[in-house]
Structures are given as C-alpha cells and as structure tokens.
C-alpha cells in the first residue's frame, strides 16, 4: 500500500459560487520516493498540501497518510508528517536550540528523548556551533535550515516541503536539494511542491503536474516526456540563404522536420548530438555559415506547454 | 503642494478603510464623552451625605433637619454598621457623625462635638464638609447668641453698670454659664437673626458663565478631549510604521516626491484626523451638554489648531523615531498619560504643588487646556489665548524639525 493515497480531493472556497482551488485530485506516493507536485503559481499546490497537513478541510474526497484519514484522524496524521512551510515559521527572538526544544514539545517529545533528538537534528542541519544564537541573527540560508530541522524532530514518515527554494541563492538551494536527496536515501518519503521544472526533474522519482486545480499529468520524468515525443528541437540561424539551407537540411537523416520561423530555422530532430555535425557539414557544402545554434531537449516545460498551451513560468 | 495633498488623501482613505480602527478613533471618545456628560452634565448634583445620629436629641434633630433642607446635599441616614462603608464605597461624598451628648452640650452652652468624615482628595467631599460646618455653625451660633444675649441682658439689668466689665468678669469663669435658662423667645429671636443674617455671602463666578458655577463635566470636558486626542496618535503612527515596514514608504521616495513633502504630507494627515476628532467632541459637548465652547469661536478655532499642531507633530516624531508598533503603542500611552497628568487634564493643577505646576506649564498642552477652560468658563477671547497658541506653535515647530531630521525610510 502506498504511504500516501489521495482520493478525489477537492477544495472550494466559499461554496457554492466560490473558487474551486483543487478539483478532484488523486495520486499516490510510495514509500521512500520523492514525489513532486509541479505547477505554476495559483495552480492549487499549496491548497493541496494544506489539506494533506490537516490545516484545511477538503470539500470533497479524502487522503490516507500511513493509513490514517486526513478528514477523520487528523491528530494521527500529524504525528507521522513533518511540514516545512514555504515561509520561515520559527521564532526569531529565540535561539536555534530553544526553537527546536519548543517544537519538539509540540510534537509530543520530552525529557531525554527530546534532548538527544534536538542534538541530532542540530547535527543534521549543521548548526551545532550556532545553536545558542538567536534566529534573527541568522542568514537566510541558516534560517531555512532551522525551518526544515523543526519538521524532522519527531522522525516523521513523510516530509512535506512547500516550495522551499523560492527566492534563495543558488548555493543555499543546492544545499537544500542535496539535503533532501540525502533524506530520501535514508528512507524518508518526501512530498515536494515547486514551480521550478529543473528541481522537479532533478529530485523526483515521480512528478504530478497540476494546473488550475486539476492533475493534468502524472508519472516518471521519462513517462511524462514521452507525451510530447522524444524529439529535440534545434534552432539555427545562418548568414545567408536560409531557405536553401532549410531545404537541404530537411532531407538529412535524423531530421524529422525543418521549417522557417521568422528569421531562423526550426528543426525537429531525433538525437541532437548525432545530427548536429551533419547539419554543420551541410551548411558548409551549401556555402552558408551557421551563426547560432540552440538545442532544446524534451523536458517538463515542453510537456506543460504541450498540455496547457502556456509556459510553466508565465 | 499637489503631491502633499495627494499623500494626505491617501492616508485618510486608508484610515477610513480600516473600519474597525476608524470606528474606534471616532466613536469611542464620543461615546465616552456622551456617557460622562449624561452622568454628570446635569448641573449641580445634590451630593449624598451620610448621617449617623447617635444622639437623637432635639439639637441633633434640628441639625439634621437643616441639612435635609439644604440645596447642596442629599442626606442619607445610616446606622452605625454601614456608616463608614457608605463612604469608603463611595456612595456618600462625606459623612456626619453626631455623637451622643451633642444636644446636651449645645443646650448647656458647652463645646458640642461633631465628627465630619471626608476624603481630603475629593472636592465633592470638601464641598459637603463645608456645608456641614455651615449648617452646624448656624445652629450653634443661634444657640450661643441666645444664651449670650440673655446673659448680657440679665447682667445689664442686674446692676445697671457697664456690663462690659461684668461680662468680662463672667467670661473669666470660662463658659460656666450653664445655669442660665434660655427662654424660647430668645432662641426664636436668635434663630431668626441667623436665618436672615445681616451679612450674607454672594458667590459670583468670573467670566461669561451666565452666573452659574459650571458642573464638573463642563470643567473636565476639555481635559478629556486632550487626553483622547493624544491617544489617537497611536493609529496614525501605526499606519506610518506599517508603511515603512512593507516598503511603500521607500518606494515613494523613488518617485519625484521630496522628503519634506512626504513628511509634511504625513503630518497634514494626522492634523486633519485630530482636528476632525476635536470637531466631533466639541460639537457633542456644545450641543448636548452645555459646554460653551462657542463662547468665542475664533479663540476656539485657534486652540483647536494649536492642539492639532502639537498632536500631529508629536505623532510624526514618534512614528519617525520608533520602529515597531509595540514600541509606538507603549510610547504613546506613556507620553499621553504623562502629558495629560502634567497639563491638568486629570486633576486641576491648582491642587498640585508649585514644582509640579511649573513643570506642567512647560508643556504646550497645559497652556492649551488653560485656554480651552478659559473660553468655556471665563469668556476668554482671542487675545487671551494667543500666548497658548504661541507656545503650541513653537513646540510644534521644534517637534516637526526633529521629525524631519530623524525621518527614516526603512
């Protein structure tokens, strides 16, 4: 049985005419996998995660987390999940250690167990040296680490991360992604929401693409990309005789299609790395010089574009 | 100037939009003033006087009757058990205890004991105590006069000599005239003479107060208004701090708005708000409770301007210097309370020590309060309030200057 089973979850604010933020969403997350919910801003990701955190009551449907219903057994669900909110939610006038101790108590820990667990988490987030410093003195990256650490205190079975890398520097982002991968390697199940395709691609075992409250695609990276086909796109500009070159290229092996788009040539090819040298050869033979080449491998952006007609980050 | 006006309009609009706060700025002082006015604005209340008659004799009864007939007090007879509590609980302004033996002492011409119970801190209690002393004095005076008159007449009649010496000799025995019988006729003459005294007292209030001593409400109304205006600095100040926090203030400075325009705009907004509040409070006081603010409309206008100037420049300075809402609230509460106390808004400065009064008069609000009270009770005109206006303008200029210097965008 999957550790998280979402069954037809819906949320409508201010029924009957209000916004339908989440519309009949279903998916499952397996033990030990990283599952991403990918979608643009306003797609319904945060609402979905709020329902799975038992913060919002679903208008319809249910979800089971480790066998417990979010509707019927919220306290049991909360005992097995760790939620890392998008915005830093720790107490700035308390030290890192004080924060962890307090939140540990909120998670029901106490006594020696709490103490040792706090030590472990401080080690995990590499803040042992700064544990007695107040959070308001921390850098953004350090604050985020505490933010994540809090959610790990009670050894949850599933970790929810709601857009944890929005607006942070590349270095901190890298650290967070590596940290999540490390957790997964230790057996943690992760539900991760984001609107960054690259992250979803890199991290996840499986991805659910959500738009306007509905799940529009679900699967591994390879499965999703297959929706748009496996062709890469190559855009080329030449110094002269564009039309002629397009004709020559369209006859080449490995080139599925070649068209003129505005001032450049758009080619759909099977394997870009294999075809590119031949394109250059052909250009030389045709007496033209290639002035720029752009190769786009099939990715989730394309999938999203294909499915919705819009870019992922509009 | 246009830009300043735009800024002011925006601020006022935002204030209006925050319904709940707007409600409180406006409704609450009004409600309080109205409530207070209803309670106390009805001219002079007959102050309750607790009376414990432990004597019961005829003199005691006469005294009680005299007090019961008084316009200034309302007698409430109490037993021994609840006499003290009636006053400690505040249900009586003051109390009179007529101990046993009072009537006998009066009739014997000996000093008659009375116990007057009053809280020295209460003007009402003092007024009641004064009334008691007056009534008791009249009673005893009549009796004493009757006795003395009879004795003098008898002495003069007895030996026809200069009764002055005789009287003096008799007087040297101390008050040992207890054996003299005082006929009723004498008492009647004395009582009548005391009831229609040769010299009475005529209390004339100065100023335009139509010959009436103003009620407690009239006197306290300006003070309450000052208190509320100071307090409302909080809302305007919080708005500025919030703006600073969410970055819109900084953004304003990337437009062509000049720093001085921005500061002036802020202050103008606060000025408008406090002025509006004053208008409401004055209207209620004038229309419903006979607080004659409109005695001299021009002088009143000057005082209103003075108060709003001081309040808005102070509010501006606080909002410029303090960074958090909490700090602002704390400071406004403490400053407004301190200023109110020092300016005479809570208790009249007349009853404080000279040191306190001088410190108080360093503050512009003390001057403004004097001006307002003067307008209401003493018919102050423009010339009388000009000094107060001057002090207020000087202070405001200083505060404003400081505010501009300390104005921060982030």
């Amino acid at each position: 049985m999957s550790i998280v089973e979402v069954q037809g979850l819906s949320k409508q604010y201010d029924p009957p005419k209000g916004v339908l933020a989440v519309d009949d969403v279903s998916f499952a997350i397996e033990h030990g996998e990283i599952f991403s919910l990918l979608g643009p801003n306003g797609a319904g990701k945060s609402t979905t995660i709020s329902m799975l955190s038992c913060l919002l009551r679903p208008s319809d449907g249910d979800a089971l987390v480790d066998g417990h219903s979010v509707v019927g057994e919220p306290q049991a669900v909360k005992s097995v999940i760790g939620v890392v909110p998008q915005d830093i939610a720790v107490y700035p006038d308390m030290t890192a250690r004080e924060n962890l101790v307090f939140w540990g108590r909120m998670y029901g820990l106490g006594g020696d167990e709490l103490k040792s667990r706090v030590d472990e988490v401080l080690e995990l987030i590499s803040l042992v040296d700064r544990q007695k410093d107040r959070i308001d003195k921390f850098s953004g990256g350090m604050k985020r680490r505490v933010n994540i650490g809090v959610a790990l205190l009670h050894r949850p079975k599933v970790l929810y991360l709601d857009e944890p890398t929005v607006g942070i520097d590349p270095q901190s982002r890298r650290a967070i992604l590596d940290g999540i991968l490390a957790l997964r390697d230790q057996g943690m199940t992760v539900l991760y929401t984001t609107h960054y395709m690259a992250e979803a691609q890199e991290l996840s075992d499986r991805v659910g693409i959500i738009d306007h409250g509905r799940m529009i695609a679900l699967g591994t990276h390879a499965e999703l990309v297959r929706i748009v086909g496996e062709e890469a796109r190559v855009d080329i500009t030449v110094d002269k005789a564009l039309e002629g070159m397009v004709e020559r290229w369209s006859g080449l092996r490995g080139v599925t299609r070649a068209t003129i788009e505005e001032d450049h040539a758009k080619l759909l090819v099977g394997d870009a790395n294999e075809v590119l040298p031949r394109l250059f050869e052909e250009a030389a033979l045709g007496g033209s010089r290639i002035t720029s080449v752009n190769v786009s491998e099939p990715n989730l952006e394309l999938v999203f574009l294909h499915l919705t007609g819009r870019a992922l980050r509009e | 100037m246009n830009r300043v006006w735009t800024l002011v309009r925006k601020d006022l609009l935002e204030t209006r939009r925050d319904r709940l706060s707007a409600l409180f700025i406006i409704v609450m002082p009004l409600a309080f003033t109205t409530f207070f006015g209803i309670m106390f604005g009805g001219g002079s209340d007959r102050l309750p006087l607790a009376l414990l008659d432990a004597d019961g004799g005829p003199q005691a009864q006469r005294l009680a009757a005299a007090l019961e007939g008084s316009d200034a007090v309302r007698v409430v007879r109490k037993g021994a058990a609840d006499f003290e509590p009636w006053m400690t609980d505040g249900r009586a302004a003051a109390g009179l205890l007529i101990p046993e033996g009072f009537s006998a002492a009066v009739e014997a011409g000996e000093p008659a004991e009375l116990v007057v119970v009053s809280d020295p801190a209460s003007s009402g209690a003092q007024a009641v105590a004064a009334e008691i002393r007056a009534a008791a004095g009249r009673l005893v005076a009549a009796d004493r006069a009757a006795r003395v008159g009879v004795e003098a007449a008898q002495a003069a009649g007895e030996d026809g000599a200069d009764p002055g010496q005789d009287g003096a000799a008799a007087g040297q025995d101390g008050q040992g005239t207890g054996s003299t019988e005082v006929p009723e006729m004498a008492r009647a003459v004395a009582t009548r003479a005391m009831e229609q005294p040769a010299v009475s007292l005529d209390v004339v209030p100065a100023g335009a107060a139509a010959g009436q001593i103003p009620s407690g409400f009239v006197l306290s109304s300006p003070g309450m208004m000052v208190n509320f205006i100071m307090f409302s600095l909080m809302t305007a100040g919080i708005a500025l701090i919030t703006e600073r926090r969410n970055g819109t203030l900084q953004r304003l400075m990337t437009t062509r708005v000049r720093r001085s325009e921005l500061v002036a705009g802020k202050m103008a907004g606060m000025f408008a708000l406090t002025f509006f509040q004053q208008v409401l409070l004055i209207a209620v006081g004038q229309l419903f409770f006979g607080v004659d603010y409109l005695n001299d409309p021009l002088a009143l206008l000057l005082m209103m301007i003075a108060l709003s100037l001081v309040a808005s420049s102070l509010g501006l300075l606080l909002a410029c210097v303090l960074t958090s809402e909490q700090a602002l609230i704390a400071t406004v509460v403490i400053v407004s309370m301190g200023v109110s106390a020092l300016s005479g808004a809570w208790f009249p400065l007349e009853i404080t020590g000279p040191a306190f009064r001088s410190v108080g008069h360093l503050l512009p609000t003390a001057w403004i309060l004097d001006g307002l009270r003067g307008i209401v009770v003493q018919g102050y005109g423009v010339a009388d309030v000009l000094p107060a206006l001057g002090v207020a303008v000087a202070w405001s200029a200083g505060l404003f200057g400081l505010a501009v210097a300390r104005f921060r965008l982030t």
């Binding site: 913060l55 939610a89 | 008659a112 105590a129 004095g137 003098a152 040769a198 009475s200």
Partner: protein
C-alpha cells in the same frame, strides 16, 4: 498539560526579551505613579497648595452716629484681619488690594482664585438697625473648584461669628426691652459673643478620613499606593494585550498554522495562550508590588488578601486582553482599539483619580466597571482590611472576568475551527 506550559513559558520568555513591552508593563506604571506622587508633594498624604485670595474692604463708618456704640474698629477691617491671620496660612494665601475692580481683575487675570469684596455698608448692616442687610461678594474663578470651596468655607465661618454677634445683640435687645440697660446689654452681648470665641468654640469639630472596616484604628490608606494600584491595573491591561496579540502575529507569521500541523489540538494551543497571558500579568503584578514596596514604601496589606487581589486582577486583565484580540483582525487594530478601551475603562473606573469621587452617580458607575471595585478592594487592603472585607468588592470583577473569557473562547473557537 506540558504542551500548555511549554507555550506559556515560551511567551513569557519572549516578553522578558521584549524591551518595549517591559517598559510598558513595569517602567510606565512606576514612573507615572512617581509623577503623580510628585504632583502632590509625594508620600502618604494628600496636600493641596494654598489658595490665592485677594481681599478688599470698602467698609466705612455709616453717616451719622450709630444707634449703639460702635465697635472699636470697622467690622470690615476686622474681617480682613481674620482672613490675613497666620492661622489660615496653609490653606489661604491672602493679599489685600485696593478696590473691588482691582480685586476682580486679579481673578480675571488668573493671579488669584477668589476675590473677597467687603461692601461699604458692612459695619452699617451689622451694627445698624435691624433689617439692614448686605452681602460680601466672593468673585471666583469657576475652574478652581477646590480653592473656591475652601475660601467659601472660611468666609462663611467668619461671617457666622459676625452674624452671631449681631444675633446675640438682638436677643439682648429683646430681653432687655425698654429698660435702662438696653444699650449696654446690646453692646455687651455683641462683644461677649466674639470674646467667648464665637462659633468655633461652640463646636468641637473633628475632621477625619473614612475608616476602613478594619476598625477605628485602621491605617490611613496610602495615596501613592492607591495611585500605583490604579496604574498597575491599567498597565496590566496592556501587559495582557501584548501577549494576547501574539495570537494574531503568530497567525500572520506562520508559527500558529505550523503549530496546527503538529499533533497539538487547537484547544491546547488556545489553552496555552490563555495561560501565557495569565501568567505574564501575574508576574507583572508581583514585580510591581515588590517595586512599590521597595521604591515607595507602600504597605499593600495582608499576604492572603494581596494574593487573592493579584489573582483576580490578573484574571480580569487577561480576560479583557484576550477578548479584544478575539474581536479584532490585525495586530495594528488590536493596539489602537485595545488602548482606547483600556483608557475608557480606566477613566470610568477611577484608575487615574483614585477614590476622589465627585458624586454618588460616579461611584455607582465605577462600581460596574471591572476595575473600579478592584481599586476599592486594594484601598481596603492597604487600610488593613481582611479577605472578608474585600470579598464583596470582588464579585463584579470576577463576573466580568468569567464573561470575558467565555466570549473570547467562543470567538476563538469559531475562528480556528
């Protein structure tokens, strides 16, 4: 339970690190109490400054001769001498001026609170034929209530003696009838009346302040103590509000919703917050009581009374603070609205004016505020009252506290359901 305590302890610790809050909760009441103490010359008793009075006498010998031998001096001069005598120095500061117009001008200019104007026929009325009357004019500044009342009282007493002498003369005249000693009797009567000491020796007046039920030997209440008690209660409202407001700020900052993602129920969180508020104001009160003792030497009363009053005051303050938060939406609103409500309650309850009531109505109103009866209870405690003495003063505050808490709980339940 431990979660509730964890929340309470976190908030208390946060408050202890919050400088503006500490200033408001601890420094402000002490500073303001000190300021008011300074206003009244400090310490235990209440002292009022002497009232500035000007006196002028237009009194003159009436034309012709008096029907009886007149007094050695003009009655008006005697009257002025009484007012300017040293015995009245600590209540009245009297200056003699020339002319009624000048006297009135002094009052109009604010240089004096009262002008006592003795008319030209003062002596004539007193020593003339029966039926002539006149009046001494008190021209007063109506905004100086105390001064006016005190002066009126003094002048009335003085006039009683003059009128009493005249009454004695009238009696002597009536008794003596047409006898030969008529004139002598009349003069002697008038002289005797005054020589014997007048009205003031006929009465033995004792002035005292009301006793607490603790018995006739009950201690005098401490003025500064009452002022500090009033300030304490007022600033406890703010102390409660500060902590209660964290419910809103934590909601806004995300830590409250985060708490709801842990296995901690909303009831526990609310219970924790309520406990935080109550605990904080209780600690605040204890600190202020100790400070009041150390700095101003205030004797608050018996230990058990003080303990009960502390707890009741804490309950009222926390209930009200939580109620305000339960009703508003943003922390900014909480600040402004809360402050307004507390100010009104303080004014109505007499927190700033102590027990200086002006009439019975005000006392009734005071009795129906949550803080008014509390102040009275503190007054009783400082005068040595026992628990039984303050019990009935505590009924109204406790009732208020219960209602505040109930409504707050109801509203919070609805909001965080």
């Amino acid at each position: 339970m431990s979660k509730i305590l964890a929340i309470a302890w976190k908030d208390l610790r946060s408050t202890m690190r919050n400088v503006p809050a500490l200033v408001m909760m601890l420094l402000a009441p002490l500073a303001l109490a000190g300021l008011i103490g300074f206003a009244f010359g400090g310490g235990d008793s209440f002292q009022i400054a002497a009232t500035k009075v000007v006196v002028t006498s237009a009194d003159e010998w009436p034309p012709g001769s008096l029907p009886m031998h007149g007094p050695p001096a003009l009655a008006g001069e005697t009257f002025v001498a009484i007012l300017t005598s040293e015995g009245l120095d600590d209540v009245l500061e009297v200056t003699e001026v020339a002319g009624a117009a000048a006297a009135r001008r002094r009052v109009d200019d604010g240089d004096a609170a009262v002008a006592v104007i003795v008319p030209a026929d003062f002596t004539a009325a007193l020593y003339g034929t029966e039926g002539t009357t006149t009046a001494v004019e008190l021209y007063v500044n109506p905004s100086q209530e105390f001064g006016t009342a005190i002066t009126e009282s003094v002048v009335t007493q003085a006039l009683l003696d003059f009128n009493g002498a005249r009454a004695a003369a009238a009696v002597a005249a009536a008794v003596a009838g047409d006898s030969a000693g008529h004139e002598a009797a009349v003069q002697a009567a008038a002289a005797r009346f005054v020589q014997d000491g007048g009205v003031s020796t006929a009465l033995a007046l004792t002035d005292r302040a009301p006793h607490s039920p603790a018995g006739e030997q009950g201690e005098q209440g401490s003025t500064i103590g009452l002022v500090l008690a009033g300030m304490m209660i007022f600033f406890m409202f703010f102390g409660a509000s500060n902590v209660a407001r964290t419910i809103l700020t934590e909601d806004h900052d995300g830590t409250l919703p985060r708490m709801l993602t842990t296995p901690t129920t909303a009831s526990t969180i609310l219970g924790g917050k309520f406990t935080s508020v109550f605990l904080t104001v209780t600690v605040q009160t204890i600190v202020l009581l100790v400070a009041g003792r150390l700095i101003f030497g205030i004797d608050w009363g018996g230990l058990e009374v003080v303990a009960v009053l502390t707890l009741v005051a804490a309950a009222v303050a926390s209930g009200l603070g939580l109620l305000v938060i339960a009703v508003v939406r943003t922390p900014g609103q909480a600040g402004a609205i809360g402050a307004g409500v507390y100010l009104v309650l303080a004014l109505l309850g007499g927190n700033f004016t102590g027990t200086a009531t002006t009439s019975g109505t005000y006392a009734v109103v005071q009795g129906f505020t949550p803080n008014g009866p509390l102040l009275r209870a503190w007054d009783e405690a400082m005068r040595g009252g026992s628990l039984a003495d303050v019990a009935d003063d505590l009924l109204v505050p406790i009732a208020f506290a219960v209602v505040f808490f109930a409504v707050a709980v109801w509203r919070f339940r609805r909001r965080y359901a």
